[in-house]
């Protein structure tokens, strides 16, 4: 029990921070109220450090737990910086003009705590070792986001976004819940380790398979994969830019972690080693994922091409990125102890981190600008015209946008390329040449619209008429700067992150999986083992 608690220390820290923020956010003192953001960030940062140094999980992918927690917490820090000022701006202004502070009219406490709750949920996903846990973690991730979307701006669009997100999200949740129920029914256990060993021993039965399919489809709502993607553009557009950045990263990460954990239950059928176990990924699931991946990237990209709102473009592109990552998911972790380049799961994990950064950077540019609306209130910008000549006018935001959009496009030598490359390598290593080609062509289609971001910001002259103003929150630009620096520097010095993602993507068994159900003897049994030495893998296999 205490081991489990030790595993949860980062989440507990974030939770405690949440509690503090909830109280602090109600303080009549503006300065104290404003410290909410700083507090949240600090809490997340501490959580991240604890996660990095924390113990490995006890699920099927023990390394996944600290890695994902750290990534979520660190990018959470950036997201918190990005959301600074999203709520309570008018209330603060009113109070500073001499109005009386009314705790009922301030939203800051809820807002930050919802963010932290959601992040906690995503972190908990990574710790999940049980279907119930996974379900709860996913719901904890999602439920606050519905509120965040709705309250992120005062306009009706946010409410519209909220209602769409919530209702469709509930539908998705019902689907994967039913899937979970069937998995439980088919195997008789909710514990991942047990489920995996049962499937490894007895093969997958029809109920479990149906459950897996439903679970995958349900969870794919979180990652906005086709056909569960319809809400994406509207919700992303309706929410305030910082919240959109949040939506594009946190639920997606939670979704992918869940998918990885779910697929680990059945294993992947094609490590490069022909005699390894884990050939239990049924062809149906594989085909399902394959079609989903191909459709997701293609539909995301082609829809993004025809958009005129930057936020909608980024929304559809986020669909496409999910499609790319699904390729890694299909590729699977490769052989036990396979190198990073073979490991599709590692590629997905690395991609998630990279995508988080690029995503923060791109949205930072949007969030860093605003216009005066008709009633004099600041409104978000949402047109390419407002981004014109950004590099000349506001170099920091402009270059952040340019570099991050080119990185999202996958242009070397930026981080986006080096995160897409492992998807390529693992895809090819698992034999998915066609899918890799589809992915390549999709990268090219993506160039249509990402290039537009870069060109508008870098090459065009500012439009006539009133220019967008800088949002009065330096933290937003700061988060962009951090993203910018990391997007460039990680492509040269990101090896530690790669290594970490690779260690995180080692699928471990429960120690009872060495059952030669098929001609192929299993090899995933045994202790964790220094994955860096590939030569050890065959020996391990023989021993098993």
């Amino acid at each position: 029990m205490s081991e489990k608690l030790a595993l949860l220390v980062p989440e507990i820290i974030v939770f405690l921070t949440t509690c503090i923020v909830m109280v602090v956010g109600l303080s009549p003192n503006l300065a104290v109220r404003r410290s909410c953001g700083l507090l949240s960030a600090s809490g997340l940062f501490i959580a991240a450090i604890l996660a990095i140094n924390g113990p490995a999980g006890d699920g099927l992918l023990p390394g996944l737990t600290p890695y994902i927690k750290a990534v979520i917490a660190l990018i959470g820090v950036l997201l918190v910086m990005l959301v600074a000022g999203t709520v309570d701006r008018e209330e603060d202004a009113r109070v500073s003009r001499g109005g009386v502070f009314n705790a009922l009219r301030t939203n800051r406490a809820e807002f930050y705590s919802f963010i932290l709750f959601s992040l906690t949920g995503a972190m908990l996903c990574a710790s999940a070792s049980d279907l119930i846990w996974l379900f709860l973690a996913l719901e904890l991730t999602s439920l606050p986001t519905y509120v965040l979307v709705t309250m992120s701006t005062r306009g009706t669009r946010s409410q519209e976004a909220g209602v769409k997100y919530f209702f469709l999200g509930a539908l998705g949740a019902a689907v994967f819940l039913y899937g979970f129920a069937l998995i439980y029914g088919g195997t008789g256990s909710t514990k991942f380790v047990d489920i995996a060993s049962i499937i490894a021993q007895q093969g997958i039965n029809q109920i479990t398979l149906a459950g897996m399919i439903l679970a995958i489809i349900g969870v794919s709502f979180k990652i906005a994969a086709v056909p569960m993607h319809f809400y994406t553009a509207d919700v992303y557009q309706g929410a305030a830019s910082p919240v959109t950045a949040f939506l594009a990263f946190v639920p997606k990460t939670a979704g992918f972690v869940s998918l990885i954990l779910l697929l680990a239950l059945v294993g992947w059928d094609h490590g490069t080693d022909k005699v390894s176990v884990g050939h239990t990924l049924p062809s149906q699931l594989r085909l399902l994922l394959w079609v989903m991946a191909a459709l997701t990237m293609t539909i995301g990209n082609v829809l993004a091409v025809v958009q005129s709102s930057p936020k909608r473009v980024l929304a559809y592109s986020s669909i496409a990125h999910s499609g790319y990552m699904l390729v890694g998911l299909i590729a699977g972790p490769g052989d036990y102890g396979a190198g990073f380049a073979h490991n599709g799961i590692a590629a997905v994990l690395f991609y998630l981190a990279a995508y988080g950064l690029m995503n923060v950077g791109a949205f930072a540019a949007l969030a860093g600008l605003e216009r005066r609306g008709r009633d004099g209130r600041p409104v978000e910008i949402d047109s390419f015209d407002d981004l014109r000549g950004l590099c000349a006018g506001r170099p920091l935001l402009g270059w952040t946008l340019v570099v991050c959009s080119l990185s999202l496009l996958g242009l070397p030598p930026l981080l986006g390329f080096f995160s897409k490359l492992p998807l390529f390598t693992s895809g090819i290593a698992s034999g998915e040449i066609v899918l890799v080609i589809v992915m390549g062509i999709n990268s090219a289609i993506a160039a249509f619209y990402y290039l537009r971001f870069a060109a508008v910001a870098m090459l065009e002259d500012p439009s006539d008429g009133p220019k967008p103003l800088a949002a009065p929150f330096p933290a937003r630009a700061m988060s962009g700067l951090v993203a910018l620096v990391l997007v460039i520097s990680l492509s040269f010095f990101g090896d530690a992150l790669m290594k970490a993602s690779r260690n995180a993507a080692v699928v471990e068994g429960s120690g009872v999986r060495a059952v030669p159900a098929s001609p192929s003897p299993g090899h995933k049994a045994g202790d964790r083992h220094d994955a860096a030495s590939p030569a050890a893998a065959p020996a391990q296999r023989v021993g098993a």
């Binding site: 094609h270 490069t272 022909k274 190198g339 990073f340 380049a341 073979h342 080119l406 242009l411 070397p412 030598p413 390329f417 080096f418 490359l421 492992p422 390529f424 390598t425 090819i428 290593a429 698992s430 034999g431 998915e432 040449i433 066609v434 890799v436 080609i437 390549g440 062509i441 990268s443 090219a444 160039a447 249509f448 290039l451 870069a454 060109a455 870098m458 090459l459 492509s491 040269f492 990101g494 090896d495 790669m498 290594k499 690779r502 001609p519 590939p534 030569a535």
Partner: protein
């Protein structure tokens, strides 16, 4: 270390330009490019010309070692020659832009320097991902240069350029990654102990790729050519080029014609030929046919152009056709000629673009309907124009001839009946290929003389608004005199001198290229025609990922032993390609 400096110095100066005021941009650009050129000269000096085929001036650092990448650079004579061309064109591009570029100078010169760094990187890299990185990164500066400083339709041209080449090269990347994967894991299947570790080192992958079965090589050839053929550009994927050239600013066109197109041919030389010998032997006739279609088709289209720049742009399609024909000849003469062609085309066509740019700066038109008989107004310009046209036509004594002649001769030598003759090398091309490609020589004379006849000779025609009394007519030339100014002559002279020098004294260059080329040719002949392909047999049945082999993923040992009893079937492709 020189090589790294060659990449870093322009980058550093680009940053400097970005940070300093716009007035200083020119100055920093000049210093930056000249400094790079100086380092380049030093590199030429330090290069051991006694062993030009070995990789020299190498340096390597780990770069995301988990993924197997290395920042690894090194050059042989071929790379070094092309780097030298890049470094030469660098200052020329800066100097030719002094008056043409009046605004956004920082953007212009900054990106120009970045472009130079990227191009140098392509030629210097010894790691496939580094190569690809530089290869792709050239797109951004070029995109900026075209879409900011081009003419009317520049945005569309830049976008098309970017998307077209990007699309193709993504597929190339897939092919290269496939080879890396093969090297990392699949060598076991053909009886070679594989390292099990991913590497993108060119030398390592070369060895692995050669060991692949012929049909796999065929697929990879297709994949690689997707990127390289577009970049070259080979018919029928050439249409981005005329558009990009027409819209690009002068320096952009010079770099585009001079170096960027060579990235494709260099890629073919460096990757396609030595990596995929069996496939190359099999598909050389197809590549050669496409190149010949390009020669004739591009040439004839030139003939009916009215835009001078478009004419020269289409002429690049035709010229690069010769270059590819030389490569497809797969013999020493052809490939050496092809590499010389890369350099020579850069010099002469680059110079033609410079000259067209100089006229454009004065008269703001490139239409042959509005320009004519400039010889009497601009005799110095006309002299250079005729000179470089002749270099482009392939007049003996100038550089273009040596390479064109050698490319054609290479194609001729590669006749299937002539393997046993003293001057023949055998292959699938031969008389008809050389004859039909040779028609391109005639067509080249037709369109280039047509251009010279219209623009240089004939009665004087100037666009409306320019009286023929020269620059006193309202200062429409801006700061420029009627004929070329000293700066412009200074820009053109080195190119002219090199055209003559390479035309009359090509031997040192040929001798420097020869060992590297011979290595490639011997590789192709030794491994591509290898009849004892038993080692490749297992791989045939054991290659995941090929469309045809999806069902053999779970191949058992029994399957392998059955397959290995019939080796000839698998190597049929290689034999039919090589045993002529």
């Amino acid at each position: 270390m020189e090589l790294v400096l060659l990449i870093l110095v322009p980058l550093a100066f680009a940053i400097l330009i970005a940070l300093r005021p716009a007035q200083e941009a020119k100055f920093h650009a000049v210093i930056g490019t000249l400094l790079a050129a100086g380092i380049g000269v030093n590199a030429l000096g330090r290069f051991d010309w006694g062993t030009p085929a070995t990789m020299q001036l190498s340096a390597a650092w780990d770069w995301l070692p988990t993924l197997g990448l290395r920042l690894s650079v090194g050059v042989d004579s071929v790379s070094l020659m092309l780097i030298a061309l890049t470094l030469l064109l660098g200052p020329i591009c800066v100097f030719c832009s002094f008056t043409a570029i009046q605004e956004k100078e920082r953007t212009y010169y900054g990106w120009l320097l970045v472009l130079q760094a990227a191009m140098t990187g392509v030629f210097a890299s010894r790691d496939i991902v580094l190569f690809y990185t530089c290869f792709e990164f050239t797109l951004v500066p070029m995109y900026v240069l075209i879409s900011l400083f081009g003419s009317t339709n520049r945005k569309a041209a830049a976008t098309k350029f970017f998307l077209y080449t990007f699309t193709g090269s993504v597929i190339t990347l897939a092919g290269l990654v496939y080879i890396a994967w093969f090297n990392a894991t699949q060598l076991d299947s053909i009886g070679i102990q594989s390292a099990g570790r991913w590497t993108f080192d060119i030398a390592a992958l070369e060895a692995a790729a050669q060991a692949m079965p012929a049909n796999v090589q065929g697929w990879l050839l297709l994949a690689m050519m997707c990127g390289f053929a577009i970049k070259i550009p080979l018919f029928p994927v050439h249409t981005w080029l005329p558009l990009a050239h027409t819209e690009a600013p002068t320096a952009g066109s010079v770099v585009l014609a001079g170096v960027l197109l060579k990235l494709g041919t260099y890629g073919m030389f460096r990757f396609v030929l030595p990596f995929l010998p069996a496939a190359v032997l099999e598909y050389a006739p197809i590549i050669a046919t496409l190149s010949i279609i390009g020669i004739l088709y591009g040439g004839l289209i030139c003939w009916v152009q009215t835009d001078v720049k478009k004419l020269v742009a289409y002429s690049s399609v035709a010229h690069l056709g010769f270059c590819i024909l030389g490569l497809a000849a797969l013999n020493t003469v052809g490939i050496t000629g092809s590499i010389l062609y890369m350099i020579n085309h850069g010099l002469s066509t680059g110079a033609l673009f410079l000259l067209i740019g100089m006229v454009y700066e004065r008269y703001h038109t490139r239409s042959m309907k509005e320009l004519g008989g400039l010889a009497c107004k601009m005799p110095v310009w006309a002299t250079f124009m005729v000179f470089f046209t002749m270099a482009s036509v392939g007049l003996p004594g100038l550089n273009g001839f040596i390479s064109e002649f050698m490319c054609l001769m290479g194609a001729f030598q590669a006749g299937d009946k002539w393997g046993s003759l003293p001057g023949g090398t055998g292959g699938d091309l031969g008389f008809w290929y050389a004859l039909i490609a040779g028609l391109g020589m005639i067509i080249a004379a037709m369109y280039l003389l047509y251009m010279v006849g219209r623009v240089v000779w004939g009665p004087l025609v100037l666009p409306a608004g320019h009286d023929d009394h020269g620059h006193d007519g309202g200062g429409s030339h801006g700061p420029l005199p009627t004929d070329l100014c000293a700066r412009e002559i200074f820009v053109l002279l080195p190119l002219a001198v090199l055209c003559i020098a390479l035309g009359l004294f090509p031997k040192p260059v040929i001798k420097a290229l020869e060992p590297a080329v011979n290595n490639v040719v011997e590789t192709i002949n030794a491994t591509g025609k290898r009849p004892d392909a038993a080692s490749g047999v297992k791989a045939m049945n054991d290659l995941p990922g090929l469309p045809s082999s999806a069902d053999v993923r779970h191949v058992s040992d029994a399957d392998v032993s059955v397959a290995s009893s019939s080796p000839t079937v698998q190597w049929g492709g290689a034999l039919s390609g090589g045993d002529k």
